[in-house]
């Protein structure tokens, strides 16, 4: 290593390294503008020695906080890449965990293991949107097969409605739930809550069971449909309950029961609402003025 007073031509990296080691030294270099400016930008691999220590310290503290690994500001691509850091095997394993809830197996602790991803929730929601619309269209077509006055319609506008409903459910409910749980923990001074991404992840994967359910809904037997929807609600509801019960049970009895009941009720509303709107077996009555349909509130079927 050359000393600062060596007057030979020095490479920029060495000069930067010397500067970072001893900012008070005087140096000589051809690129004069750089000799005063300490290489704080991490140029050249030699300089990273000083900076990486700080970064490691920061990363460790952030892991303690939430189990997340943000590797940049939220405006960088790498930040979002950390949420897509899953392999095929991992995704399949998480999907399996969402359809087979075993008591004592917390989905977040057991399957996510502090690596929540957004790939699963996003593509499960997209698939669910299309599977619900396509199956609904097919079931309407099959139920009207014998009807000579029925003219097949693709009903493409339902894609927009389904997308809005499902994505709002998959994002707004976790936001509300996470905010509520964090506020309760703040009030009760508890630790061990779930991060926002883990909540979104659980909700996204819990919607997976509805995809095969919606495909099976094409079969035009009402008793079968209600059995299927009950089964799906039990499975995915129990995934959610098993995940959130350990966090909530330390709260007062009233609040914990109310939270769990709200989770289950919202989930039920989504399932029944989808069934009511997309899988109508009502008598086909021609409408003159199209009216916006009610979304998962009423039990009556609107003719479309």
């Amino acid at each position: 290593m050359a000393s600062p007073h060596d007057l030979q031509f020095q490479e920029f990296e060495e000069a930067a390294e010397l500067l970072s080691a001893d900012p008070g030294a005087s140096t000589l270099s051809m690129s004069a503008s750089n000799s005063i400016n300490p290489a704080g930008e991490g140029e050249g691999e030699d300089v990273k020695l000083d900076l990486s220590e700080d970064e490691e310290g920061q990363e460790e503290s952030s892991e303690l906080l939430g189990g997340q690994k943000p590797t940049g500001g939220f405006w960088t691509f790498e930040y979002y890449q950390s949420f897509w850091d899953v392999d095929t095997v991992q995704v399949l394993d998480r999907v399996k965990g969402s359809v087979m809830p075993l008591p004592g197996r917390n989905f977040i602790k057991h399957h996510l293991r502090s690596n929540p991803d957004l790939y699963g929730p996003f593509w499960i929601c997209v698939t669910l949107v299309f599977s619900v619309v396509i199956s609904g269209n097919l079931s309407t077509f099959l139920s009207e097969l014998g009807n000579p006055s029925y003219h097949y319609r693709p009903q493409f506008h339902r894609v927009t409605i389904a997308a809005v409903v499902i994505f709002m459910y998959a994002w707004l409910v976790p936001i509300g739930l996470w905010g509520f749980l964090t506020w309760r923990q703040g009030a009760e001074r508890q630790i061990g809550g779930y991060s926002f991404l883990e909540t979104v992840c659980v909700y996204g994967y819990s919607l997976f069971i509805y995809i095969p359910t919606s495909v099976l809904w094409i079969i035009p037997f009402e008793w079968l449909r209600w059995t299927l929807i009950l089964f799906a609600m039990v499975v995915s509801g129990s995934v959610l309950v098993l995940t959130f019960w350990p966090v909530v049970r330390d709260d007062t009895k009233v609040m914990s029961v109310a939270t769990v009941v709200t989770i289950v009720v919202l989930h039920t509303l989504l399932a029944i609402g989808c069934k009511m709107y997309f899988f109508q077996t009502a008598v086909h009555v021609p409408t003159t003025a199209p009216t916006p349909p009610p979304l998962h509130i009423t039990g009556s079927t609107r003719p479309h």
Binding site: A32, R153, P154, F156
Partner: protein
Amino acid sequence: IVERHLPSKMATAAEEEANRPFAGLSDVSISEDIPVEGDISVPVGPSARRDDEFSTLDEPVKETVLRDLRAVGKKFVHVLYPKRSTALLRDWDLWGPLLLCVTLALLLQGGAADSDYQGGPQFAEVFVIVWFGSIIITINSKLLGGTISFFQSLCVLGYCILPLTVAMAVCRIVLVAGSGSVSFAVRLVVVTASFGWSTFASTAFLADSQPANRKALVVYPVFLFYFVIGWMVLTFSPSQ
């Protein structure tokens, strides 16, 4: 030509040494509080710019248009006979996908109950699905760590809509003949075959750019994308 501006303290020394470049540096030591600025300008050599040889400003318009059309046509052939070639990736362009998207959207018009909102996809809906679908799939594959560039992936996904567009044209011809269950069976076979062809062609181009343990995660959205387009093609029902 290298110019250096030094503060006045050093001016005399600099003037003395101005004739010998870099010679003055050996006796100058610069401490922190003197700002030193440098100015290096590299003159452009007298050699002619290489762009002149490929200038397309002077050729007739017909030549320009035909060149692009030939490039698009060459890529169509690559899609129809998908082999693991890099030509589609190297010289990407978005004319082909635009042409195909417009053709598909136009062919999907004139369907049942166009004025009634229960009909098939509107022109804008087809555009949104094709382009936003391609963009989302591309972002997804890049987030998963793919090495393909953004526009290359858009190009591949757009060009591989070609079999489905051909199927749409065939379906409309079949529907002119009749719309009973025989025509539905024929359309079903044609759409299924072209959907499989599209998916196979695009994965032949895209699969290499992904790490091996995530290939399925990238292929599934492509499958879903062409499945939705295939469903739009199949469910097209003519107005009566």
